[in-house]
Amino acid sequence: MDFELSPEQKLILETVRRFVREEILPLEADLDPDASELPPHHRERLVAMTKELGFYGLDIPEEYGGPGIDLTTRTLMAFEMAQHRAGLYAPCYGVFGGAGLAQLYEADDGQKERYLYPVLRGEKRGFFALTEPSGGSDPARAIRTTAVRDGDDWILDGEKTFISGADKADFGIVFARTDPELGRKGITCFLVDTDMPGFRVRRIVHTLRSTHYAAELEFNRVRVPGRNVLGEVNQGFAIANDRLSRNRIPYAAGCVGVALKAQEMAIAYAKTRKTFGDYLSTRQAVQWMIVDNEIDLRTARALTLEAAARADAGKPFRTEAAICKLVASEGASRVVDRAMQIHGGYGMTKDLPLERWYRELRIRRVGEGPNEIQRLIVARDVIGGSFH
């Protein structure tokens, strides 16, 4: 596969690279090492810049006002946008805008007016609630939250956990079981406002990641009007699955981005740090770590771009997306780990971004479908004969 960049792609990447270097890194130097947001006045200024550049709302479909960037270019941009301390979970602190919740593009016109457009205008925030204490990898079986019809409404009862952004959201996309006999065909997707009686954020679930921390939610007889069913009754599983494969590609790209930066830091440090009279870069033990980093990086980068290119070409890409997600998350973890080793004691400190990447990359092997599930997907496609 040929990954020669077009002149336009080169220009875009140079612009993003310069943006990170000149706008993000200087601000980050003054922020807390675990910060996930910029001071409001800086955020407003930088959002204005990305809008001026035509890069705001990168993941918003063109028909809704997005810039219409293909997934390959978006992936290349994600490599660049992740190359700073908060870059893995808050690339450029969100000043390039989000897509909102992709499932909302499947909403009916009334729901779009009440939820999608306010999200795109930055007036409302939403969350995506699939995972429950009973599990998240196998939602068809794990979902125990129920929704029972009551006249024109539905009554939701249950709990969700590891739900990012729920404590600051105005509404959520919530999956509940509407037919206990039908397995994955008995799940429905609801739009739940956070001010509906019976909805509670119980607590924040503290993890290795500070950015976009998760919360535990409770639904106690939450009455949801029938007009808030997203899609068809009992068809919620398809909505949940809709963008899973596609999401794995930028997810992998973020891992590659921080790993690229970690490798750059490791090489720079190895060329300046002396031990026993010579630079670390002259020691074979260190050279091999850098070489192993390069192999992990190039492998992850190529597989991620391949998945993106297949998606852009309209070819099946489920297998490629699963492979790039697991290779990038595991490879980037090794790269950052080796970079920390090369930096010695400094690598463990909050003075450098490596320790944050190390913590957050650990989550990447579980998030967006654990890597065991990715292997399951690949096994099913390869052994099942649908390998392409």
Partner: protein
């Protein structure tokens, strides 16, 4: 499981108590003698001496500061956000030292006993 609210003993605010504080990262609450909360805060990765310097600096901003309590945690960022949300749920407003949040949203969490 970590409790949502800061359930640590209050300590009198004096030089000896501050000097005895750990240099670790964590969250804290500064209070007055009447039982009110003046500020919630955290000792983050840029604090010079962790909780020791962060609590000393925060206390110096409040004339009526008389006591404090703290919790050592590496998850100081999300824990701080949780404490702010819990305080807002319980009191309907933020402590005076945290009132200036700009347009940064404070999370919504269930009120105590709610």
């Amino acid at each position: 499981m970590i409790g949502v609210r800061l359930a640590r003993p209050w300590l009198d605010l004096d030089e000896a108590a501050i000097a005895a504080l750990p240099g670790q990262l964590g969250v804290y609450e500064i209070g007055d003698a009447k039982g009110g909360t003046l500020e919630l805060g955290f000792a983050g990765g840029r604090s010079r001496f962790g909780l020791r310097s962060a609590i000393a600096e925060a206390a110096a901003k409040h004339e009526t500061a008389a006591r404090f309590r703290y919790e050592v945690t590496m998850q100081y960022w999300s824990r701080f956000e949780e404490l702010l949300a819990a305080y807002l749920a319980d009191h309907g407003e933020l402590p005076p030292g945290n009132a200036d949040r700009g347009d940064r949203r404070v999370g919504r969490i269930a009120a105590a006993g709610g």
